[in-house]
C-alpha cells in the first residue's frame, strides 16, 4: 500500500475450516486492517499510522482497539499541540456526520477534550445542533451535550435551545428531560420555577395528551416545590379531565382531553388523602374502564393502594 510499503499486513484469515460467520472481505479491507494491525503491533506512533487508523474507523467504526490506538498516537504526537488537537476534533466531527449512530465517537471526543489545553463549548455547539436537528432524540448525542454542559460548566445556551426544539416538537421527551437536567443543576429561584410552570401550562394547552410534559410538571413540583400541589394547578388540570374525577361512576359518554391529566390529578388527590381519596379512586377507575384501559391492572393496583392507606 502506498506509503506503507515497508509494512507487511497481518493476515485476516484464520485457516479454520469450521469458522462461523466467515466474511468475504474486500481487498481494501484486508489491506487497511491488515496494515493497521501490523503498525499497532510495533506501536508505531506516526502521522501515517494515525492516518491509517482513520481509514480503519471508516471501514469498521466499532473497532474499539483502533480507537484506542489512534488516541495513543495522538497523545504521542500532540503533547499539548493545540493545532493537532483541533485537527483531531475536526476529524471526529467528520466521522460523526458519517456515522450518526456510532456511540464510540462521543467517549473518544470526551477523551480528546479532556486532554485539550483550551477546549471550548462554542466549538461543539454547531455539530451538536446539526446532529440533533437530524435526529432530535438521539440518546448518545444528548448525553454528550449534557457531558459538555457539566464539563464546561456552561448552562447558558440550554433553556433557549430546548425551547426551540419544543417549538418544533412539543412531544420531544429528550428536550423535556434535558430542561429538567438544567434546572436541577442550576438551583432556580422560586420565581423562576413559577415562570417555568406557566411555560409548561402553555405547552399543555397546546397539546394536553402528552406524557412528557405532565411528567415534567410533576418534576417541577417534586424537585422544587416539595410536591406541594396548589389548588390552582388542580383547577388547571381539571379543565382537561372535565371533572370526571368528581363522579363516583364513570360515565362512558364523557370524553376527556388528557389521560395524563387524569393520572396527574389522581396522584395529587391520593397525596392529599382523607376526603380527597375518593376523587383519586374515581380518577383511577375512569382510567381503568375508559380512558386508558390497556393499563387496567395498574390502575386497579393503584386503587387498592390508596384504599389501604
Amino acid at each position: 500500500m502506498e506509503g506503507y510499503e515497508d509494512v507487511s499486513p497481518l493476515p485476516l484469515d484464520t485457516g479454520f475450516k469450521d469458522e462461523l460467520c466467515q466474511i468475504m472481505y474486500t481487498d481494501e479491507y484486508r489491506m487497511v486492517v491488515g496494515t493497521a494491525r501490523a503498525l499497532m503491533e510495533r506501536r508505531e506512533y506516526s502521522e501515517r499510522a494515525k492516518e491509517l487508523t482513520g481509514r480503519v474507523i471508516d471501514l469498521a467504526p466499532a473497532y474499539y482497539t483502533a480507537w484506542n490506538y489512534r488516541f495513543d498516537i495522538l497523545m504521542h504526537l500532540a503533547r499539548g499541540n493545540v493545532e493537532l488537537l483541533n485537527q483531531e476534533l475536526e476529524w471526529i466531527d467528520e466521522v460523526t456526520l458519517n456515522n450518526p449512530k456510532n456511540y464510540q465517537i462521543w467517549s473518544y471526543k470526551e477523551a480528546v477534550l479532556k486532554n485539550h489545553p483550551s477546549p471550548s463549548f462554542k466549538r461543539e455547539l454547531p455539530i451538536l445542533q446539526l446532529m440533533l436537528d437530524e435526529d432530535t432524540k438521539n440518546y448518545h448525542v444528548w448525553s454528550f451535550r449534557k457531558w459538555c454542559v457539566l464539563f464546561f460548566g456552561d448552562f447558558s445556551h440550554e433553556l433557549g435551545y430546548t425551547e426551540s426544539l419544543l417549538e418544533r416538537d412539543v412531544y420531544n421527551n429528550s428536550a423535556w428531560t434535558h430542561r429538567m437536567f438544567v434546572l436541577k443543576n442550576t438551583s432556580p429561584s422560586h420565581d423562576h420555577v413559577l415562570e417555568e410552570i406557566e411555560y409548561v401550562k402553555g405547552k399543555i394547552e397546546l397539546v394536553p395528551q402528552n406524557i412528557s410534559v405532565w411528567t415534567y410538571l410533576r418534576g417541577l413540583y417534586e424537585n422544587f416545590l416539595n410536591a406541594n400541589y396548589d389548588d390552582e394547578i388542580i383547577q388547571f388540570t381539571s379543565t382537561f379531565t372535565h371533572g370526571v374525577e368528581e363522579e363516583d361512576e364513570t360515565d362512558v359518554n364523557v370524553e376527556i382531553e388528557s389521560s395524563c391529566a387524569l393520572e396527574f390529578i389522581a396522584h395529587v388527590y391520593a397525596l392529599r388523602g382523607g376526603a380527597m381519596t375518593r376523587k383519586a379512586i374515581n380518577a383511577y377507575k375512569g382510567l381503568a374502564t375508559k380512558y386508558d384501559p390497556i393499563r387496567k391492572n395498574l390502575w386497579e393496583l393503584k386503587i387498592s393502594r390508596v384504599t389501604k392507606s
Binding site: D13, F16, A60, T65, Y171, F181
Partner: protein
Amino acid sequence: MSTSLESTKHVKFLKRHLLMLPSSQQSHDVNRIAIIFYSIVGLSALGVDCSREYASSIPYIYQHYVKLQIPGYEEVFSGFVGSLATNVSNTSCISLPNTLFALLTLRIMKCDEFFQKTVDRESLGNFIRKCQYPDGSFASVLDMNKPTPSPVDSTDLRFCYIAAAILRLLGCETKEDFEEFIDVDRVIDYMMTKKCDFGGFGDYGETHAGYTSCALCAFQLLHGLDKLDSEFKERTVDWLLHRQVSNSGTVLLQEGKNPYYDPEENGGFQGRENKFADTCYAFWCLNSLKILDENEFNNVCRAGLAQDYLLTKTQNNLIGGFSKNDEDDPDLYHTCLGIAVLQLMNGTFDGIFCIPKQFAP
C-alpha cells in the same frame, strides 16, 4: 398476517447469519462473536440443538479466548476477542461484551469442559477488575499500554451488568465471591446515580428501557435489589407499564399530532416516552418488569397484546426474522430479541442472561 411463530423460517434466517457473510458485513467483523451469540440464542430458543449442529465449530470459538500480558507489566489477563481477524498479538483486544457473549454461547453449546478446565478464572477476573473505575463504573476494554480502563471507551450501565454476569458465570454467587474481583458497593453506588426521577435508569435523568434492564439485572446478580426503595420500584413498574403503546382511550388523541405515535403499534413497547414501539424494547421492558413485579409481568403476558403485536407486525413471514417495527427489514438483533421476549413470556427463557432457561446457571 400471521399469528403463530414461524419457527422454520426463523431457523433458516438465523442459520444464514452463521454462514459466509457478504463484504457488506465486514464493518461487523470486529464483533463477530456478537453475531454468533445472537444467532445461537435465537436458534436454541427455537429448539435447535446447537451443541450438536455446531459442535465442529467449538474449537473455533475457543480460539477467541485470549490470555495476554500488556508489554512492561507482569499481570496476566484473559477474555474473549470479538474476532480473530482484528486481534493483535501483543495488544489487549479482549472486551467485556464479547467475553459475555462467548461464555453464554459456550453454555448453550454445553461446553462444560471450558468452564471446568479451560477458563482461567484468575486472569479473567483480573481483566474485569481492571476495567472498573474508582467510581464503580466499568469500561468494556483495557488501555492498550497499561492495565487501566481504556481512556476512550464509554462507561455505562451495560458494562456493570456484563461484568456481573461474567462473574456469575465464573461461579460467583455471594457478595463476597464478587468482591474477590470487583468493588460491589461501588458498582451499586454508581448505578444509584443513574436512577431517574420517575423510575427506571438512564444517563442524566432520561430513563431508557435498555439501561433500565441492564441495571436491574446487575442489581439482581449482585444481590442489591433491596437497596432500591419501594417507592422507586413502584415508579419503575409504572414507567415500564406506560411504555406499552395503546390504541384505546384518550391516548388516541395523539393520532395525527404526535409524529411518534402510531395506533397500529397497539401492544408493542417503546424504549422511551413518545417514541415508536420497537421489538427489542418489548424484551427490555418485560424483562425489567419480570424482575421487579412478576405479577404485573404475568398480567401483561396474559393480555396477549404484546405477543400479537410481535407476531402480526414485526415478524416477517416471508423470509423469517423480526424487524424493529412494521416497516424495516428483519435484522439479526431484533430477530434474537423478538424470539427471546416471546419465550420469556412463555416462561422458557432466562431474561437475566438472555439465553433459554435450560442453559442458565
